[in-house]
């Protein structure tokens, strides 16, 4: 139970960063924390007490760690890499155009 709470706490910390911070890169860091909180939670969901790696053949009666979340977390990390690269690129281009990273000064769009 505790790992669910900690994972969601980390998620909320990231969300706080996204909502409250004013610097573009701090917002990005908040997003990354959010992403990684979910990944961590996912990896922990697959954890089994005294489990071993699920690759040995012919070991009956042993507890295996659930391998599915590990594979999926890897996929999710790759997706996270793509989004992070894209958003960092956007932030850099915004910096080129506006000359600032402060989100309060970047508002050509209203609403």
């Amino acid at each position: 139970m505790i790992h669910y709470l900690l994972g969601i706490l980390l998620f909320v910390i990231g969300l706080y960063g996204v909502l409250v911070k004013r610097n573009l890169f701090k917002i990005i860091i908040g997003l990354i924390i959010m992403e990684y909180a979910t990944f961590l939670l996912f990896a922990l969901v697959g954890f089994r007490e005294h489990g071993t790696a699920p690759i040995q053949p012919g070991v009956a009666g042993k507890v295996f760690v659930d391998p599915l979340p590990q594979a999926l977390v890897l996929t999710a990390i790759v997706i996270g890499l793509g989004t992070t690269a894209l958003i960092a690129g956007l932030a850099v281009r915004i910096y080129e155009k506006y000359g600032t990273l402060d989100i309060r000064k970047i508002k050509k769009l209203k609403g």
């Binding site: 053949p57 890897l74 790759v78 690269a85 960092a88 690129g89 850099v92 281009r93 080129e96």
Partner: protein, 152 residues
């Protein structure tokens, strides 16, 4: 980047350059090792691809942003990326073409725990490795170019 071993004008100091020059090949070898053994040991296409990209990025870091900033390099990186993922796509639809399922394991599976085993998985790993290496090098070159622009 090719022959300017005496050129100290850009990039890091001579020590870093020399070490990067010698080690880049070995890093790439290790990356390929990870990719090729993706179905036997931890790692695989993505992890190995990142290491392969690391070998190039190490060189670019050592020799400075000017070495990396070139349209030709960017094009090669993007070509690697596209061809790698296209190779994966080809492998994936081979299953469809031969009348079974998309991503069906059409190759012989071989003996477990040998290098040539597991059917299409090593092939897919190689394709992913090429793709990831190209993509990461491309991302790095793009960001390096942006930094240059700012300095001007």
């Amino acid at each position: 980047m090719q022959n300017n071993t005496q050129n100290t004008s850009s990039g890091m100091s001579l020590i870093v350059k020399t070490v990067a020059r010698i080690l880049a090949g070995m890093i790439m070898l290790y990356g390929i090792y990870i990719v090729a053994h993706g179905h036997l040991t931890p790692g695989g296409g993505f992890a190995g691809g990142v290491i392969i990209a690391g070998s190039f990025i190490l060189l670019y870091l050592a020799y400075g942003a000017t070495a990396a900033d070139s349209d030709k390099r960017k094009w090669y990186a993007s070509l690697c990326e596209s061809l790698g993922i296209f190779g994966f796509w080809i492998v994936a639809i081979l299953g469809l073409v031969f009348g079974t399922y998309f991503l069906f394991n059409i190759f012989a599976k071989g003996t477990p725990f040998h290098l040539f085993s597991a059917g299409i998985i090593p092939v897919c790993n190689v394709a992913i490795g090429v793709e990831v290496a190209g993509a990461l090098v491309g991302i790095f070159i793009t960001f390096a170019a942006v930094k240059l622009l700012e300095r001007k």
